[in-house]
């Protein structure tokens, strides 16, 4: 307890005595975590958009012309049994035409040349979120297309694939950038603690001669590293919050609908930046002190 108290007091005292180099290191960590946080936030928003869009995602199964009601019922029963289908909506030829007319509005004259209703009847299938992967959806579409009475199956293949690829790409960028920034944080603290360690080398030698254990000598430096990393994380997070609120306020001003959908980190993750800063700085400090020999 006494050693911890001593280490705590010494770390605070040293942080204050060497405040400029410590502030500089803390700001370096803050900027690193702010950049990483921005990328994570962009990825989170892309993921959230993908999920939001997926809720309305479905396959449209167009049926053959003049399909008997028995066959249509059979297909409906088939889809109902499918565990990956969460909702089924039957759209008759008449309903499809009505919907098209509503969509066309005042330009319905383009349908005047048709003697009969050209639109096929169809099923709109809503799929489970887990199935919303381009490869699985494609397999599903091929499987349904083979069914008797099915003319064609359509879905937003390209859009889904692009968004999925972009999200995956962002995740990879976040992982790579995260690794680089974490190493940079550790290295930044390593350099600072190394400098501070050498500045206090005479004091450390005296401590060793007075019988201080390695832990007694190390603890203040490790605590110093943890303080710098934690503060860096807090400042980085606060900086990101400020940027988020200013940016969303501007977006809402110009695009009210889009602005409302931009999300921030959930409260349970608020400590992630300070903890990441602390852990990486602790690792940096540990290596900076190195092996203490008597």
């Amino acid at each position: 307890m006494s050693i911890f108290l001593y280490s705590f007091q010494t770390a605070i005292k040293n942080l204050w005595c060497e405040k400029w180099i410590n502030i500089l290191t803390m700001l370096t960590i803050a900027v690193g975590l702010l950049i990483l946080g921005t990328f994570v936030l962009i990825t989170l928003n892309m993921n959230s958009s993908l999920k939001r869009w997926s809720k309305g995602f479905g396959l449209v199964v167009y049926l053959e012309e003049n399909l008997s009601s028995d066959k249509a019922d059979f297909l409906k029963e088939y889809f109902q049994k499918d565990s990956e289908v969460v909702d089924i909506k039957y759209i008759s030829k008449e309903a499809a035409l009505k919907e098209l007319k509503q969509t066309l509005g005042t330009t319905t004259q383009i349908l005047e040349g048709f003697e009969e209703n050209p639109l096929p009847s169809s099923f709109e299938l809503k799929l489970k979120r887990e199935v919303l992967d381009p490869v699985r959806i494609k397999q599903k579409a091929i499987q349904i297309e083979k069914l008797s009475g099915v003319e064609d199956v359509q879905y937003g293949e390209k859009w889904l694939s692009s968004l999925n690829t972009m999200t995956m790409g962002m995740k990879i960028i976040v992982v790579l950038l995260g690794s680089v920034i974490f190493v940079a944080i550790a290295f930044s603290t390593y350099s600072t603690i190394k400098i501070l360690f050498y500045r206090r080398i005479a004091e450390i030698e005296t401590l060793k001669l007075l019988g201080a254990t390695r832990a007694f000598i190390r603890f203040p430096f490790l605590l110093e590293g943890i303080f710098i990393g934690t503060l860096g994380g807090v400042v980085g997070f606060l900086g990101l919050s400020v940027i988020y609120y200013f940016t969303t306020a501007k977006i809402i001003e110009f695009m009210p609908l889009v602005g409302g959908t931009i999300i921030f980190f959930p409260p349970e993750t608020y400590l992630a930046a300070p903890v990441a800063g602390a852990v990486m700085s602790l690792i940096g400090s540990f290596f900076a002190i190195g092996k203490i020999r008597y």
Binding site: L207, L210, F216
Partner: protein, 220 residues
């Protein structure tokens, strides 16, 4: 308490100590004398394991110093108070903080530390300087602070390297009186000095070194 058996120490080609054998009894006041460069400081360093013997054995209490593991060295040093020739005071800490550091290392409670520091400062006659910084004290006062720091943790052995080296005769006399008082309380004291005036007529045992070898073993 302290035993040297055929101890030799080399710094490259240079011989610092050669075949040194002697012993210091528990509670004894012992002198190591010799001119500058004779090996006195090296001999003391071997006792608190700042150096390792190249040949021979050094025993301090129950410790075989040459065989000590790195993690055990701090515990030997806690039992061995050292009055360093260059003081080794921390100039960014006050007098009481410098002394308290030795007790902090022992893991003592802050309240106990406060009491012990006040007591030892009273013993060395510098209670009024508790909140001063070492650089504002005279050489003699700094020396007494170093003695206080070495003594505060009540070590079984006290080593002093040229404790009166830069001091005037009056201050030297005060410092030596302090060592005798410490010794009278039962602490084994080893003083390395080139000043024969310190031990003449005291009747204390001593060894005289020259070029790293013991040339005389006798009494002051």
């Amino acid at each position: 308490m302290i035993q040297f058996f055929d101890v030799s120490k080399y710094y490259g080609e240079e011989i610092a100590l050669k075949n040194v054998t002697f012993s210091v009894k528990k509670g004894e006041l012992f002198y190591v004398t010799g001119s500058s460069g004779a090996g006195k400081t090296t001999l003391l360093k071997l006792i608190y394991r700042a150096e390792r013997p190249d040949e021979g054995r050094v025993l301090v209490a129950d410790w075989d110093v040459g065989k000590l593991k790195q993690r055990t060295i701090p515990y030997l040093r806690r039992n061995t108070g050292v009055v360093f020739q260059d003081f080794r005071l921390l100039f960014n800490r006050t007098v009481s903080e410098n002394i308290a550091l030795a007790l902090r290392i022992h893991g003592m409670h802050p309240e106990e530390i406060k009491e012990d520091v006040a007591e030892v400062l009273k013993d060395v006659g510098l209670k009024h300087k508790a909140h001063s910084f070492p650089q504002h004290l005279s050489g003699g006062e700094q020396q007494r602070i170093v003695i206080a720091r070495a003594m505060v943790s009540r070590p079984t052995v006290l080593l002093a390297d040229e404790p009166t080296g830069n001091l005037d005769p009056d201050t030297s006399s005060t410092i030596m009186k302090l060592f005798r008082e410490i010794n009278a309380r039962g602490t084994t004291v080893v003083i390395a000095t080139h000043n024969s005036g310190l031990f003449s007529g005291t009747g204390c045992r001593l060894i005289q070194l020259e070029a790293g070898e013991v040339i005389t073993e006798g009494e002051g």
